[in-house]
């Protein structure tokens, strides 16, 4: 094969790959999407927005990446099922591999997105959602999608800036929106972690509980709920890893 032909073939392969919607990325299917917005909504916290080209169920995750050299990381979708755009809520970790690169994305840049997957999706009536930080994303999606009614949401953050979507939640959930903040004492918020809140206030053992956040919170909150009479079968958890 001549050098010229070899180069042409390489370009052909690249062209096919770049224009093929679904290609393999470390055994995963993905598409390349155009960033429509990547907005900082609190210190180190962003919402990444791109056009929705797939159906999903509230509670599902997608893998994100900026190039194929870096493994995709999983993020829960924070937008509603019927919305035109997909929104991803993420925080930049200074020691992380992907999020410092994600945070630099500008409108018009490309982001790699896997197909949605996961089954943290079926919520009972009158659920109690418990989340810390960006773990609120699947619950935001469920509320926006009108998949749930009579929701109680307990959200824990380290500073009040991180009460994402709080205006919408206050309006929709009223008193059933419980904000727990460890870094700022105020009459507006419960002063302490969600686990402290669960310890101090009664829980209804007949409800279903859905937890999302770091493993430490999930494990502690689950233990507290079980100790207060909630059957473990009524507690479903999603973990960050």
């Amino acid at each position: 094969m001549t050098k010229q032909r070899l180069i042409k073939n390489v370009f052909l392969v690249l062209y096919i790959n770049l224009n093929c919607k679904m290609i393999s990325w470390n055994q995963q299917k993905y598409t390349t999407e155009v960033v429509l917005e990547n907005k900082m909504i609190a210190p180190s916290a962003y919402i990444l927005k791109f056009r929705r080209k797939f159906n999903f169920s509230a509670g599902q995750v997608v893998g994100l990446g900026v190039n194929v050299a870096i493994e995709p990381r999983l993020y829960s979708i924070a937008s509603g099922e019927d919305e035109e755009f997909i929104e991803i809520l993420y925080t930049e970790k200074s020691d992380g591999q992907l999020t410092p690169m994600l945070s630099l994305l500008k409108n018009g840049d490309r982001v790699l997105v896997t197909q949605p997957y996961g089954t943290f999706t079926n919520y009972s009536d009158s659920p109690v959602f418990i989340a810390t930080g960006t773990g609120i994303a699947p619950f935001i999606s469920a509320i926006k999608s009108k998949r749930v009614s009579n929701v109680t949401l307990i959200h824990g953050v380290r500073a009040c800036d991180y009460f994402y979507f709080s205006d919408m939640l206050k309006k929709q959930l009223g008193e059933n929106y419980i904000q727990c903040c460890t870094g700022f004492a105020s009459s507006e918020y419960f002063d302490g972690r969600v686990t402290k809140y669960l310890r101090e206030f009664p829980v209804n053992p007949n409800k279903k509980y859905y937890l999302c956040g770091v493993a430490e919170m999930v494990v502690d909150a689950r233990d507290i709920l079980i100790s207060k009479g909630v059957p473990f079968s009524s507690i479903i958890s999603e973990i960050y890893f």
Partner: protein, 350 residues
Amino acid sequence: MDPVVEAKKSLYGLTINELSQVVKEEGLPSFTAKQIADWLYKKDVTSIDQMTNLSKKSREQLEEKYQIGLSEHIKVQQSADGTKKYLFKIGNDKFVEAAYIPESDRATLCVSTQAGCKMGCLFCMTGKQGFQGNLSTIEILNQLRSIPEFRTVSNLVYMGMGEPFDNLENVLSSLEILTSDWGYGWSPKRITVSSIGIIPAMLTFLEKSNCHLAISLHNPFDDERKQMMPIQNVYPIQKVIAEIKKADLGRQQRVSFEYIMFDEINDTDRHIKEMGKLLNGLKCRVNLIRFHQVEGSPLKGTPDARIIEFRNALTAKGIFTTVRASRGQDIQAACGLLSTKELNKKSSQS
């Protein structure tokens, strides 16, 4: 003020490619990498000065920036049955465990891959610590190299604290050192890596390693496994098994499924039937494990008689099933207990 002294880097735990990079950076002959690997992994030296086929000048040069990097355990507990549990300190404030389990014809070491764990399984003590960090390759291998029984260990299982496939890069590097000719030269058949089934990492493992794979199954039903293992929401066991069925396993590579027996939770006839369906057509082994209740757990262990019935029923379905012997019960050899106590002690002191 004293000038900041840069900590010496460790040579132990480096792969041959990484050692080649070290000797290149130091301007040493390229064959020195293989010599260093020999000293580290075949001759078990504890200092650079013992690498006597390196010139004195080369050794001195290496010693300026490097050390072997091994560290001793800080505590050991011994069971009446000979099982020993070693506690290692990682950094300033983390602890991991390794369990040495001698038997008449073999000696198995169970090593940890993370300090704490992110997976949050309902029945696991390690999960109650939260996640504190991944172990480096040296911190994984040090659990083997630094125990007195090092050279008597015949089998290694990655079933201690943490999820190996959540720290895949370092786990694969440790396996490379254990199984390469330039490393310890172990047969991959002597090593089993246990995971809850993170599919992308599992596929990479199956592609790159011939070591045995064990998957924590614990319940064949989607909704019930979700209640015990949050990972089921993202990587359901049904998909994990479908991927294993599709994978091109090495001829010697074995897949097994760990199944902790919980009374009236996952030990019913319904579960036997579903296990039969799930594992149909897959050459594998199921390992039934007794659950020893920990304080505050809503789960109870299945009585022994039922475990035997369960084993017999699975065997009758053509699934090779064994019951794992309980070892080290008097020292609570299940992973996570000793390090959790040490963490609690530390936090109460601070």
